[in-house]
């Protein structure tokens, strides 16, 4: 007796159905951009508290005008030069004695910042400044800090600061996390991000 085969289900339209679903998900997908520049806002201050006195030479003033022009220390500057200027300022290490900075490699100009712990970058923007420009300036200033941290981390621990941070977040990291955390903190303390933002001027 011949074996009777059961009739096969016609799967020819399966591809069509799958395509339909695929196209639906393709259209509705928005790969969310959830990365950005993280910052911490200063807490609200009481009115009476007097701001600490900072020496003029320890302040690096960056002004973004209403026309999106960049004024660094009262001189017009292109965005591309900002990173180097900020690094030169932070890395200067012009202090002597107590305030000397042994890991700075800058020009040691007595007219510029004493050491990275004292150096403050002051960012002033106008109310009319475009947000895109502001982010570009922020990005360059953060990049300046990151570059210096990378350099020190490379010298002390043989890998870049970004790599260290990535390792710290990595679940599969095999090294000693406690020590890594200390090292990260140490480098953060060596190059603290002192980025002060003044209230924008309205006119």
């Amino acid at each position: 007796m011949a074996r009777r085969s059961s009739p096969e289900v016609n799967a020819g339209s399966m591809a069509d159905i799958a395509f339909l679903l695929l196209i639906f998900f393709l259209v509705t997908t928005t790969i969310e951009t959830d990365s950005g520049i993280s910052r911490k806002l200063p807490p609200m201050q009481e009115e009476e508290v007097e701001p600490p006195v900072i020496k003029q030479k320890n302040i690096f003033q960056v002004i973004v005008s209403r026309n999106n022009d960049l004024l660094v220390e009262d001189e017009l500057m292109e965005l591309g030069e900002l990173r180097e200027a900020a690094i030169a300022f932070l890395d200067n290490g012009g202090g002597v004695g107590e305030e000397a900075c042994d890991y700075c490699q800058g020009a040691r100009d007595p007219e510029s910042s004493d050491n990275p712990e004292k150096a403050v970058i002051m960012l002033v923007n106008d109310r009319q400044t475009e947000y895109g420009t502001y982010i570009a300036v922020q990005n360059e200033l953060v990049a300046a800090y990151n570059e210096l941290r990378d350099r020190t981390a490379q010298r002390l621990y043989g890998k870049s600061f970004t790599k260290m941070e990535a390792d710290y977040d990595d679940v599969n990291y095999r090294g000693d996390k406690e020590r890594l955390k200390e090292q990260i903190q140490e480098i953060r303390d060596m190059w603290p991000q002192k980025l002060s933002e003044a209230e924008p001027k309205s006119n």
């Binding site: 928005t30 951009t33 911490k40 947000y131």
Partner: protein, 160 residues
């Protein structure tokens, strides 16, 4: 012998498409898994600026989103072209931000509240005045951890 010669056909055999559904299903599953449905409908233009010194925001449930930008074209007739803030699904005023932060905090477990981050998704053409106002309100509400959400790319692209 005749049996064999009969089978030989001079035409090209059709390409076997039996595995096509499998391939398509594979793609389908990829997109299904990778898709995150937008929770809010954007009512403002939202072209984010570029930056390359970015950090990733991991825990999505610990992020509060504040959008700002010009109203999209179909809301222009009602809301004008001046840049506005969007909280959840509605346009909002600067003064409503504090309320929004408190409401978001209320919805989260207490031990998670210190880890809340505010993501600012601001259109690149917005004036800093509005952004500063938002920041000021966030300081008042003591939501100090912020993240300027950006696209990844050269920062100089913002100036073009």
């Amino acid at each position: 012998m005749a049996k064999f010669t009969k089978k030989k056909s001079s035409e090209l055999p059709a390409v076997n498409t039996a595995s096509l559904p499998d391939i398509v299903f594979m793609l389908l599953f990829f997109f299904m898994v990778a898709t995150t449905m937008r929770e809010t409908t954007l009512k403002v233009e939202n072209t984010l600026p570029y930056a390359d010194q970015v950090e990733k925001l991991d825990k999505k449930d610990l992020v509060m989103y504040i959008y700002a930008g010009k109203p999209s074209s179909r809301y222009r007739s009602n809301f004008g072209t001046e840049a506005r803030i969007q909280l959840n699904d509605n346009f909002a005023d600067v003064s409503e931000i504090q309320q929004f932060i408190y409401a978001e905090r209320e919805a989260k477990r207490e031990e998670l509240v210190p880890f809340l981050t505010t993501a600012l998704k601001v259109d690149e053409e917005t004036n800093m005045g509005l952004v500063s106002d938002i920041k000021q309100e966030l300081r008042k509400a003591e939501a100090l951890k912020i993240n300027y959400t950006t696209r990844t790319g050269k920062a100089s692209q913002n100036l073009e």
